[in-house]
């Protein structure tokens, strides 16, 4: 008599279909029939389904019902509109953030590009006998200067390093190498080299100008600012340094 009090949910679409098609086991069928005695809706649905076998039209109608836009769904559509708006705002914010991030990431590159001019070493200003004396017997330096002048920093680095192996005290060549390294976007090597030159009597203006640019290239804008404050630049370099400081600290 247990089944007298059994409660079960209403028939699913598949269960109803299987019951009407006699595809259920006797035990399952009994469970369904006990429910049918108790549930007017399921009983009427079974009867309706049995009375008029479903056509393709009915199947289509039921499918449509599954995606039918009931008023709550319309309300959900309003919700979706808000969701879309929120998504659009988020997209804009994300875009702005990405743009800001990109701008921040490339800011140092832009500053470097605006302020970097390859250092003009004294060698290039030598003329006549002075030039002949300075460069005589130094084929690597000659080759390096030629390449440097042509903007081939990669090639000039090779010959400058060879030259510095033979003439490690050549400060002008070292400065030139640091400038070429910046031209080749090798800031860390340039910084290392320039710090070595701090111990020498190299022109401080050239040294710290290049060091500041090296830090900028290495995206160390704070360090670049500190370097600029270490030295008092003269003439046109002073003006450029002031502009660069403003750029670094807008």
């Amino acid at each position: 008599m247990k089944s007298f009090f059994k409660e079960r949910p209403c028939l699913s679409e598949r269960e109803l279909q299987r019951y009407v098609s006699h595809e259920l086991s006797p035990r399952q069928a009994h469970g369904v029939e006990a429910h049918l005695l108790d549930c007017p809706l399921c009983a009427a649905a079974v009867e309706g389904f049995t009375m008029h076998p479903f056509s393709a039209e009915d199947e289509a109608a039921l499918k449509e019902l599954e995606i039918e836009e009931m008023p709550p769904r319309r309300q959900r559509a309003f919700g979706r509109i808000w969701l879309n708006r929120a998504a659009a705002v988020l997209l804009i914010l994300a875009g702005t953030y990405a743009f800001w991030q990109y701008r921040e990431a490339t800011r140092h590159q832009a500053i470097f590009a605006a302020y970097y001019d390859p250092l003009q070493p004294d060698y290039l200003n030598l003329r006549g006998a002075a030039a002949a004396n300075a460069l005589s017997g130094k084929p690597e330096l000659q080759a390096a200067l030629k390449l440097y002048k042509d903007g081939d920093y990669e090639g000039s680095i090779v010959f400058l390093e060879r030259h510095l192996n033979d003439y490690p005290q050549d400060i002008q060549a070292s400065l030139l190498l640091a400038s070429a390294l910046l031209g080749e976007w090798q800031p860390e090597r340039a910084i290392h080299l320039l710090h070595q030159l701090e111990e020498t009597d190299v022109a401080a203006a050239d040294l710290y100008w290049l060091l500041a640019l090296a830090h900028i290239q290495n995206n160390e804008l704070g360090a670049a600012e500190r370097v600029l404050n270490q030295v008092k630049f003269q003439d046109s370099r002073a003006e450029r340094a002031a502009q660069l400081e403003m750029e670094l600290n807008p």
């Binding site: 006797p26 005695l37 007017p40 809706l41 039209e57 009915d58 009931m70 709550p72």
Partner: protein, 203 residues
Amino acid sequence: MKLFLRSARRSLTDWTDEQLLAAWQEQRKEACFQELFNRYHHLVYKMCGRHLRQAADRKDATLETFAALMDVPASKPIQSLPRWLYGIARNICISRYRAQSAGPVLSGEEYFFEKNAGEIVENEGLLRHINREHPHLSDLLPRALNQLENKQRQCIELFYLEEMTYKEVSEKLGYDLKAVKSYLQNGRRKLSLILQELQSERS
């Protein structure tokens, strides 16, 4: 997000009708209404097949039924949703049938609807109610069964005690399938009344 929505949706399938209805009526939770629609729309549609011949009419009547459910205020609690849907859908079908016939319902038609309406045991919920609220009454069942007509008692015992199907009961007793259903329904109705009497006697 999709996974979250799917899992939230899955959990709604575990809710009872009462919980879903309360969430819809009191908080207008659309997902809850949608779950109720998913649960019952196919039954309402098929039920409409008893009265309406066109698929489009059945579909409209189904939508109309759920639109009515949508507007039920929280102050009007629904005891049994399947029964409520059945009542509303039946009324909608009758109205549509009348409108399509362009006139009053003829006596034959009236009989058709009355006949179909009468197939449902009116106080079907009583047995469930007894089980929930007065489980001690189940010991009265054997006495109550003895007071039923022989055919009704036979059908109820085979169906509920032996857990036979309508067909098996029909074959065993040699009654027509419709007659078995009728004995079962009428027997249950009568059994409820007898149990009520026995309960009042006891109290």
